[in-house]
Symmetry: C2
Subunit: 350 residues, 2 copies
């Protein structure tokens, strides 16, 4: 199904307002989701609204609470999400990191009392949009083994960064620290396909290519072995250990137990480049690096070498004009939402 | 060869003083190198003193200049290494990041005018020793392809972090963003062994297992494909693009062209945990996470699950007592140094 981004946004906003969320919070949340869909990252876009509102209905999240700053200093703050919509909490946190970084040069804002915040890259890009470098990360309920272990221990613990450029399109990366995103394993399950070597181990700790074993009898491996494990530990510490959020084995799964607050933690860091280097110098140095990458000698059969995030920006530009191509699984979730809220989806998504 | 750490340190200090370096700078440099050797990371320890002093002799580094702060604000600074010994510059930079983070919560210090700074983990651990979280990274001369490319573009761009714990042994990681460290490829060359799949591509962009092709006709691949590439880009930006150091294709190789200043850049970030969370809470949460990792159900044949950095700390403790086991290649470099400086190595390394 192809939809105009304005209409998808209107549908999401109206659904949340109908669900009794404040309009401004609904708009903030819809912006995160629709921007993510525009970039083609549909696993983390509007697909999740149904599941997040189910959390609100059953007690995992709260429809009326607001995130609040519980601790702060010149270059740091901690925000308690109070189990409000995670996109609202995360947006507030990155805005605060940006504001503080503009004073001090760099700032950290940690979050507790949150849940699934969508695509980490969205928040990193908030900073890049204002000319700062942004970093964004989160802990996640356990699904990944530690090297030598055979049970879920850490989450896929995503990390994202965004670096501004002179053309307004950031260089940005948004990755899981596991060898694969969970969504790819679920996709293989649905398609009945086996998965590549090195992604999963079964409950005996033996390698498996069978996605059907996941998650009950298998767990994901970290990317690049001990390296991904090590990075996941750092993300757990910055997102959850220092913020007071739940961590490792204590994080409930927000799409399995809808009634239990996940209490996930996030961390946001902003760096104000223009305090460090004149912005014209920065942009010309970035452009030199970007041009070098584009001009690098290519392997046979490769037409273009992409910067981190460049594929997503190309998709964003195209879908902004031509409409967003929503995969079947997203449409199913949007339909469930419309039914439950007694909304006429056809009015929006035509 | 097995040597006492105090004697290895004395040898290094005396060699640098004989070379006309200030005694305090020589001591700082020796501390970085000997601590690295104690942890068993001998590729990045005292082995490199000979090569760094060769840079000083031939013009790539300078024996008498000092690093200086060229720009600073509440939470950030930029240091020009002025081509002084990189360990002196990097130590000064991390000390400044720690000092500033104690005021603001988090601080960034970037460096230009440097060269090979040894093991990134040493500087991250400086922060952990004072109860802060430390991050340390550097750009490196090109040896790694970008995905789709077939020529050296980025360096192995290492990144390290260290997180303090209640027993004084940090949780720490020190990794290259390439699939393998360059030192492992050179080791395979010397031993005449082939290297694993996925490490190298040749100058046609085809996979190769032949280490003899490296570096003239091959380049390393990033860890975890586009993920390692993406992280290498961030490290290049934080270390070099914003600091004014040389970047990507313009970074000379410090062990090939000894007369040309490498002008590498580094970045250091310190986060003062105790401003964010009471230290007793932090330590008890860290201990819970650490115990959970140690207690995780193990794959058959695995006796212990290690925390990031734990193997290095075990080696450190053992070698502190029993002496440092120096591999042949390190001894060869120390001997060359003793010969050139007319020192009696046997007086120290007995």
């Amino acid at each position: 199904m192809k939809v105009k981004h304005e209409l998808l946004r209107a549908f999401c906003v109206d659904a949340m307002v109908k669900f009794d969320m404040d309009k401004s919070d609904a708009e903030t949340t819809a912006d995160v989701m629709v921007t993510t869909d525009l970039m083609g990252i549909n696993t983390h876009g509007s697909k999740q609204l149904y599941l997040l509102l189910k959390n609100m209905k059953e007690g995992g999240l709260s429809v009326k609470t607001k995130p609040e700053v519980v601790d702060e200093g010149p270059g740091f703050a901690v925000i308690d999400g109070n189990f409000a919509m995670p996109m609202v909490t995360a947006t507030k946190a990155m805005n605060l990191a940006i504001k503080k970084a503009k004073e001090t040069g760099i700032a950290y804002v940690g979050v507790k009392g949150s849940s699934h915040f969508g695509a980490a890259g969205f928040y990193a890009n908030m900073a890049a949009k204002e000319g700062l470098i942004g970093l964004s990360m989160s802990n996640v309920d356990p699904c990944m083994a530690v090297p030598g272990g055979k049970t879920p221990h850490f989450g896929t613990n995503p990390i994202a960064y965004a670096i501004p450029t002179s053309n307004g399109k950031s260089v940005f990366l948004d990755i899981a620290t596991s060898v694969s995103a969970v969504s790819k394993i679920f996709a293989a399950k649905i398609l009945g396909k086996s998965i590549p070597d090195g992604w999963l181990i079964d409950s005996d700790g033996k390698p498996t290519n069978d996605p059907m074993k996941y998650p009950q009898d298998a767990c994901i491996l970290p990317m690049a072995g001990h390296k991904g494990y090590g990075i996941a530990v750092l993300i757990e510490v910055l997102s959850a250990i220092v913020t007071g959020a739940s961590f490792t084995l204590d994080v409930p799964c927000w799409v399995r137990d809808f009634s239990k607050p996940a209490n996930q933690g996030h961390a946001f860091i902003a760096i104000d480049i223009k305090k460090i280097i004149p912005i014209a110098d920065f942009e010309s140095r970035m452009n030199k690096m970007i041009n070098q990458i584009h001009d690098a000698p290519k392997v046979d059969g490769i037409e273009k070498i992409y910067l981190p995030g460049e594929m997503e920006w190309e998709k964003y530009d195209r879908q902004l004009k031509e409409g967003i191509e929503l995969p079947e699984d997203v449409v199913i979730n949007l339909k469930k939402l419309a039914e439950e809220l007694d909304m006429n989806m056809d009015e929006y998504l035509k």
